[in-house]
């Protein structure tokens, strides 16, 4: 691969920033490109490739020194907007966006996602950025730690806590997993403006039928081997949940032990994991195929006590029959001493045909498949621990009367610097 930029070492800060800015200017994303957004514990990286996805160029780190737990691409209403949550260990977390495909980024003067004082809570991390429905282009959601949902109705300019979920009587009894008490999955139903489904770890799946005003647990059938009760109303440790837009009533989720499917928007869940071809039903990421509602990808790990691939062989598993069976893919992936971990948001698919699938590891390796997961290549190594990956096919920008951003968060400077 060709590197548009390499991290520079032992150079004066200003010289380094100028070099990074030059590299950023040289990183040009063309219409039709596939864009990979990679968030790590020490900044974000962008990669682009032509539709064949045979050669990648990279720029980064963006926001050096900050953890980027969530990235997103929003192409609704003619915009081409990148989102990133940047979290400084010292100064807190903010949401930033870029309207020029990563060359410059907003840097909000004051944090834009904040708990109200009355909540008694303080933001620790922004775990998820989710654009809303296609016909509500100004709506976005973000999921945070401590587990809560925020909503924006003005394209991301202002954010408000979704009070109905925060006030849910279960919430004080949700407990953090190793990663923290996070709300990591947000699924707006594309066909129903009032339906919204979220997942927290731990807590489980919750659904609203009234636009977020009220919520109910939707965990029936999800077994909790880590609790005394096998099937509690809530307390499930959902690692990731996915939905296919063409069939929004069908959900899949990767649980802390167990892979599940629901065909009734979460009213009930069936185990579609162990015994059907996966070597383990423990894992973190789960990705829906962009075009086929019966196809889903997972990346099994041995167990919650040893969170590495079974037999130290890195393999991606795919079902094409909604979980009736799973097939493993190893070609191009390390099959020896692969003591890797892939986190819940570090796997993604693009929308090309055939679909590209991507994942990043905690050891900083980035793998890509351009044939729907059948074969893989390590396209980048040596990154900081990867915590988020998203992929998009970049389409030509269109002017739109409703395109936000011109009067929104002021672009103060190129975002090469962190805080």
């Amino acid at each position: 691969m060709e590197l548009a930029d390499r991290p520079l070492r032992r150079t004066p800060e200003k010289r380094k920033l100028r070099a990074v800015a030059r590299a950023a200017a040289a990183f040009k994303v063309l219409d039709g490109d596939v864009l990979l957004m990679v968030g790590t514990l020490k900044g974000a990286f962008l990669l682009r490739a032509r539709p064949a996805r045979s050669r990648w160029t990279m720029t980064g780190p963006l926001f050096p020194g900050t953890a980027v737990y969530a990235v997103a691409y929003d192409d609704r209403s003619g915009r081409r907007r990148l989102w990133a949550s940047t979290s400084s260990m010292h100064w807190g977390a903010v949401l930033r966006h870029s309207d020029d495909l990563g060359r410059t980024w907003t840097d909000p003067q004051t944090p834009n996602v904040k708990f109200p004082e009355s909540s008694g809570a303080a933001l620790r991390q922004i775990w998820q950025i989710q654009p809303g429905r296609a016909d509500e282009p100004e709506t976005l959601y973000c999921g945070v730690e401590p587990a809560a949902l925020f909503e924006s109705r003005d394209g991301g300019e202002t954010w408000a806590l979704v009070q109905g979920l925060w006030d849910h009587p279960h919430r004080p009894r949700w407990e953090p997993g190793n990663g923290g008490l996070c709300l990591h999955t947000i699924l707006p139903d594309p066909a129903d403006r009032d339906r919204l489904i979220i997942a927290t770890s731990t807590g489980g799946v919750y659904r609203s039928e009234d636009g977020g005003r009220s919520w109910s647990a939707r965990n029936r059938g999800i077994r909790t081997p880590f609790l005394p009760e096998a099937y509690p109303e809530f307390g499930q440790c959902v690692h990731k949940m996915v939905q296919h837009p063409s069939r929004p009533g069908r959900l899949f989720l990767q649980h802390h032990f167990g892979i599940y499917r629901s065909d009734d928007a979460g009213d009930s869940w069936q185990d579609v994991g162990k015994g059907r071809g996966v070597p383990s039903d423990f894992g973190f990421p789960m990705v829906a195929h962009p075009h086929d509602p019966d196809s889903v990808y997972v990346l099994p790990l041995q167990s919650d006590e040893f969170r590495c691939p079974p037999e130290a062989k890195l393999r991606v598993y795919r079902t094409r029959d909604a979980g009736a069976s799973w097939k493993g893919f190893a070609r191009g992936l390390p099959q020896k001493h692969a003591f890797e971990t892939v986190l819940r948001d570090a796997m993604a698919a693009d929308s090309a045909r055939p679909a590209g699938v991507y994942f990043g590891t905690r050891s900083g390796k980035l793998f890509a498949s351009r044939d729907e997961g059948a074969s893989w290549a390590c396209i980048l190594d040596g990154l900081p621990p990867i915590v988020s990956v998203r992929a998009a096919v970049v389409t030509a920008a269109r002017r739109s009367a409703s395109a936000p951003g011109r009067r929104q968060l002021r672009v103060r400077r190129a975002a090469r610097r962190g805080y």
């Binding site: 514990l41 400084s88 260990m89 010292h90 100064w91 807190g92 840097d107 909000p108 003067q109 004051t110 944090p111 904040k114 708990f115 109200p116 004082e117 909540s119 008694g120 809570a121 303080a122 933001l123 103060r412 400077r413 610097r417 962190g418 805080y419």
Partner: protein, 93 residues
């Protein structure tokens, strides 16, 4: 005599690029000083304090050489002409 707040490099961007802010009020405590700082530079305040008004866990605030962790936190009294230092803790990974 005024109180001077010394900012670390990463926060100067949120204070118009300056590294020191001289407060034109006479705050009685560290909390009062940060409140006064926040009226002029809310971006600095919100990066030092969380939504509940607590000093963020990996931020250190000193009055002179004394960390406020050991002198009463935000209630630490401020003498006249005090120098208040905001510094990132030596945490990371």
């Amino acid at each position: 005599m005024p109180v001077t707040v010394h900012l670390p490099g990463p926060l100067s961007a949120y204070a118009g690029g300056v590294s020191r802010v001289v407060l034109d009020v006479a705050p009685a405590s560290v909390g009062d000083a940060l409140a006064a700082l926040g009226t002029r530079h809310p971006g600095v305040r919100d990066r030092v304090l969380d939504e509940q008004g607590r000093v963020r866990p990996h931020v250190n605030v000193f009055v002179g050489k004394q960390s406020i962790r050991y002198s009463g936190g935000l209630a630490t009294p401020l003498p006249q002409s005090a120098d208040l230092f905001i510094l990132p803790a030596v945490s990371g990974g």
